[in-house]
């Protein structure tokens, strides 16, 4: 318990908790109304067959919850952050493709809540995901920081 926390660790902690909390919340909200999320996936018109759309409707939120929980606990922190960064890159690509195609669709990223972007998918959603990606990269590069299971287990 006596090991010293590097100053940068205190920068990582809020990044880790905010990102983990957001993803757990997003995953739970999607699972509370899978219909809404499935419809959003369909509205993005990425050409997926229906059975894959339905599978993704449940797989994406569970991946978010798994990685988000790991981040909150500080367990396999860098790996969880890496996974969330990969997800975020995918989301950013999807949003960019919607913007390029000039589509008017809802993202249902947080279920019925729209945080902090309201209305159809737009530049705000891109920026939001960009900020979340930056938080994730901080954790990937600097590790779990204080108050993490990873940290305790390496002592």
């Amino acid at each position: 318990m006596g090991s010293k926390v590097r100053p940068v660790g205190w920068l990582v902690l809020p990044c880790r908790l905010i990102l983990g909390g957001l993803f757990v919340f997003a995953g739970v909200m999607k699972l509370l109304n899978p219909q809404l999320f499935q419809q959003s996936i369909g509205a993005f018109k990425v050409g997926l067959p229906e059975h894959l759309e339905i599978l993704l409707t449940f797989v994406v939120p569970w991946c978010e919850i798994a990685a988000g929980s790991a981040l909150l606990l500080g367990l396999w922190t860098r790996s969880a952050a890496m996974m969330l960064c990969t997800l975020l890159v995918g989301f950013i690509g999807l949003i960019a493709s919607v913007l390029i195609r000039g589509m008017d669709v809802k993202c249902s990223c947080f279920g019925k809540f729209e945080i902090p972007c309201t209305g159809p998918v737009g530049v705000c959603h891109l920026v939001r995901n960009g900020v979340m990606l930056a938080l994730g990269l901080v954790v990937v590069f600097f590790g779990p920081g204080p108050l993490a299971i990873d940290r305790e287990s390496t002592k």
Binding site: P34, Q35, F58, V59, W76, S79, D104, S108, G119
Partner: protein, 185 residues
């Protein structure tokens, strides 16, 4: 920690998510899939049986303003669309529709799209014309669900009345009561 270990653990987390999602998907009730796009509207009138449904349903193609409107619209904007003949869709439950709905609104909750079924009322709408969907306002999901289904069906000018039916009533705009004349049989 080695990069390969990091990747392996990330893959393990992803696998946990995929397995949990697959099990959840298998155990959950079937989702409502999008219907096939409706047939193109007939020249005039768009309404199959004008004596049964409001003649307003077909008059919306000439509406001048909706192109400038976003997905979410206010009661005032909805009122302008209403006056120009834009069809309204009530996404709430049958009993709520019966107790009171926007005058001439079609009843089309997302349940009507169950298993790829095409709702009767959908045939009365023009996919290229504006359509306003409402539920109870606030955080109700019903109108969003229906709008996404309509978008999947090829509708490009859907609007959500964000204040919903309560906002419409508060503004003292025309309402009606009774069973829907199309759908719900």
């Amino acid at each position: 920690m080695g990069f390969m270990i990091m990747v392996q653990r990330a893959c393990t987390l992803a696998l946990v998510g995929i397995l949990a999602g697959a099990i959840h998907s298998a155990l959950s009730k079937p989702l409502q899939l999008a219907p096939k796009p409706p047939a193109p509207p007939e020249p005039t009138p768009t309404v199959a049986n004008p004596g049964v449904v409001s003649p307003k349903a077909g008059a919306s193609a000439e509406t001048p303003k909706p192109a400038a409107l976003g997905l979410d619209i206010s009661v005032e904007q909805a009122w302008e669309l209403f006056q120009s003949g834009t069809p309204f869709v009530d996404a709430r439950a049958m009993n709520e529709y019966e107790e009171g709905h926007i005058d001439s609104a079609l009843w089309m909750p997302s349940e009507e799209f169950m298993n790829g079924h095409t709702p009767e009322a959908l045939q009365l709408l023009d996919a290229k014309a504006p359509v306003v969907v409402y539920c109870d306002g606030g955080l109700c999901d019903a109108s969003k669900n229906v709008v996404v289904l309509l978008q999947q069906a090829g509708f490009t000018r859907c609007h959500i009345l964000t204040d919903g039916y309560p906002g419409w009533v508060k503004a003292k705009h025309p309402i009606a009561t009774g069973k829907p004349q199309i759908g719900g049989h």
